[in-house]
């Protein structure tokens, strides 16, 4: 801290000549001092720790994103190199005019919202039940969390078998209680909900763990106070406990939404290919199909960018919220 000298105000004239100015004692290196002044006391001194990852991430993540944006503005397809001399938004216009893209975007959005809401609700329910000092608490927790430890490739195969029209376990149960068989995978109106259900099954355990942590952080006094004031159990949770789970809800839903955008693996494994059943095409599968089946690199980059913007529109507000709350 002592290095933080006060003479910066005097250095109005530019001294960014890059020369090594060795000033002894407490004055320090002026540009460094100014950087430190601007960004915090250890900005330069700590740079050896954060700068390498900063540059690497910048190059390989953000650089790649920018490159992707550039490709999406070209007409690049097939083999060869993209022509960067003629950039336009043609691919985005094409996407908006492509009914396949619009369907995939709608499906992605529905999947995102439905999956997140249902999973949060189920996760919360499970967390509250487990938090009520039941027996075998840990066992139940493990059981609910277990599906998440399985790969999408495995769970998609499970569900493909379970949803089979003739001998899938779900239809067998339905027929045994006197209901009609349902064509889970084959009918375009149902398949997306079947996928949502399967994903919910896999991730409800995760939402449960996040909520459980949130519940454990609520002091017992709140429960006791609500009881003393005569609140019913339902009312107590609704009015006192659940409102305090805002943070858990937000962080769980961000993670879940990002998982929903990545449902590609699940759909790919469900049918063993890039083309999901009719009615379940999402942007991720469409993107991969355009890129690798049709070699439409520019078009699939445009889809990728729109998917990226969707993800950003989810994560962005969350980061802003965290920033406002002072967690960042």
């Amino acid at each position: 801290m002592a290095l933080h000298n006060d003479d910066t105000e005097e250095s109005g004239d530019a001294v960014t000549d890059g020369g090594v100015v060795e000033e002894q004692q407490q004055t320090g290196f002026r540009p460094i001092a100014r950087l430190n002044e601007r960004f915090g006391s250890d900005f330069v001194e700590s740079s050896q720790f954060w700068l390498p990852p900063f540059l690497l991430v910048g190059l390989f993540v953000y650089g790649a994103i920018i490159w992707n944006v550039m490709i999406s503005l070209t007409d690049f397809q097939g083999f060869g190199t993209p022509d960067y001399s003629d950039l336009d938004l043609e691919m985005y216009a094409r996407a908006l005019g492509d009914s396949g893209f619009v369907d995939a975007a709608v499906n992605t959005f529905v999947l995102l919202i439905a999956f997140t809401l249902v999973t949060l609700a189920i996760g919360l329910g499970l967390a509250i039940l487990i938090d009520r000092n039941i027996r075998f608490e840990n066992t139940f927790r493990t059981i609910y969390l277990l599906p998440m430890s399985l790969s999408f490739v495995v769970t998609a195969q499970f569900w493909a078998w379970m949803y089979n029209f003739n001998n899938g376990v779900i239809n067998i149960v339905l027929t045994s209680i006197g209901l009609d068989r349902v064509d889970w995978i084959g009918s375009p109106d149902i398949v997306l909900w079947a996928v949502v259900f399967a994903l919910m099954w896999q991730f409800a355990g995760y939402a449960m763990v996040v909520y459980l942590a949130g519940l454990r952080a609520i002091p017992d006094e709140h429960y006791e106070a609500a009881k003393v004031d005569g609140a019913s159990t339902l009312r107590m949770y609704w009015r006192v406990i659940i409102p305090q789970l805002k943070g858990s809800t937000i962080s769980a839903s961000v993670v879940l939404m990002v998982f929903a955008l990545k449902a590609f693996d699940f759909l790919y494994s469900l049918v063993g290919g890039y083309r999901p059943p009719n009615g379940a095409d999402i942007l991720a599968t469409k993107m991969v199909r355009e890129a690798y089946a049709n070699l439409n690199w520019a078009y699939s980059s445009a889809i990728a960018i729109m998917l990226f913007l969707m993800a950003l529109s989810i994560v962005g507000p969350y980061l802003y919220y965290q920033y406002k709350e002072g967690h960042l």
Partner: protein
Amino acid sequence: MTDDSDRLSRRRFVEATGAATLIGLAGCSGDGGGDGGDGSDGGDGGSENTDGSDGGDGGDSSGEPLEVLHGWTGGDGAAAAEALVEAFEEEYPDMEHEFNPIGGGGNQNLDAVVANRLQNNNPPSSFANWPGKNLQRYEGVLGEADSVWEAEGFEDVMVEEAVELHQYNGAFRAVPLGSHRLNCLFYNTSVVEEAGVDPDSLTSVSALIDALETVSTETDAVPMTHGMSGTWTTTQLWASTMLGKEGYDPYMNFIEGSPDEAAVQSAFESVAEILENYINDDASSIGLTESNQNIIEGNAAFIHQGNWAAGAFRNAEDFEYDEDWGFKTFPGSEGMYMLHFDSFLYPSNNPTPEKTDKFMAFAGSEAAQVAFNQYKGSIPTRTDVDMSAFGPYLQETQEDFANAEERPPNLQHGLGVDSETMSTLNDVISSEFSGPYNVEAATSGFIDAVSN
């Protein structure tokens, strides 16, 4: 204080070093990217004319092994690939080689790997794919195999369609290994007998539909098993129906980009009639393998497939040709052989031009075609092969092949339309024709997709 500042200058030194390293690093990776771009430019240049491959020929002194990518990983495909490799080793015992199978997703994974490697200018020596219009998507990255065709005299021994379909932009780009047939109808003998249907009498699509009706009233079996977890099965069923019901010319007009709307719609109507009434309930949740199983287990009477399906029948126990299962040319397309080729494509900027030439010459040889096809359930594309190693079914297929009046290219397996059109056709099937079956929308979608 002094201690502090002392440490500081050392820190500053570390900082400077770190920054310098990073700048160097960034510089390096920048260079790398630039090189990659240049490299693929070079590939382009090479493929436009013979220069590239000639230059490559000269420089094949490198010890790089021959690398061949293919997608034959399942069942009979794996056995066929193994037989091919064995035959190759016999022919070239000293050549180092890597045959890399990349299975899954019906060649999708293979295509993706190949696309990536070609894009990164890191081509394999050769890779398996379809010739015909499918070659269009490899525009600019395929070299020439003219010298192989000439040296081996392939033009004289291959069927005429193979000669035609392996050329693109005025040069040979690939060598055929074998051929499947697509206009096939297979049946379970005991089921059709139980229903009292004589498959050989089915010479029109309407006769087929009548027979399906008979099967559904006379037996408990599914009249026609269909696996449509992928759309390709429906697309190829439509193609066979189009060929069988409307005939050769309307089919070819469709493929060549001047479709007749009435013909397209009429074919769709027949397919819709079949799919709405006579297929298995779980069609949308099963694929080819399970669908085939329905025939083997006697749960279904008929199946339309390319004759790779016969490979599954052959591998099934106690399931013999003519006794347990039978073959009928798809009704209405008698005398025609809807073509399919399995071929090896020749990437330009080839890592091992000399070895690749040898391999390509081998792939078109009798030894390779016999070794591979008898296991794959396909037939040689050469017309001078001794068929005695093949079973009776493939011998008959080969006779049909040799004597066919017409050999129209297929729609779904690369020969007839380019890959983008094929993808659009499958989009149409997926959104309009995988239940509910919307004949009008599918018709206009197909017509838009192929019309020039």
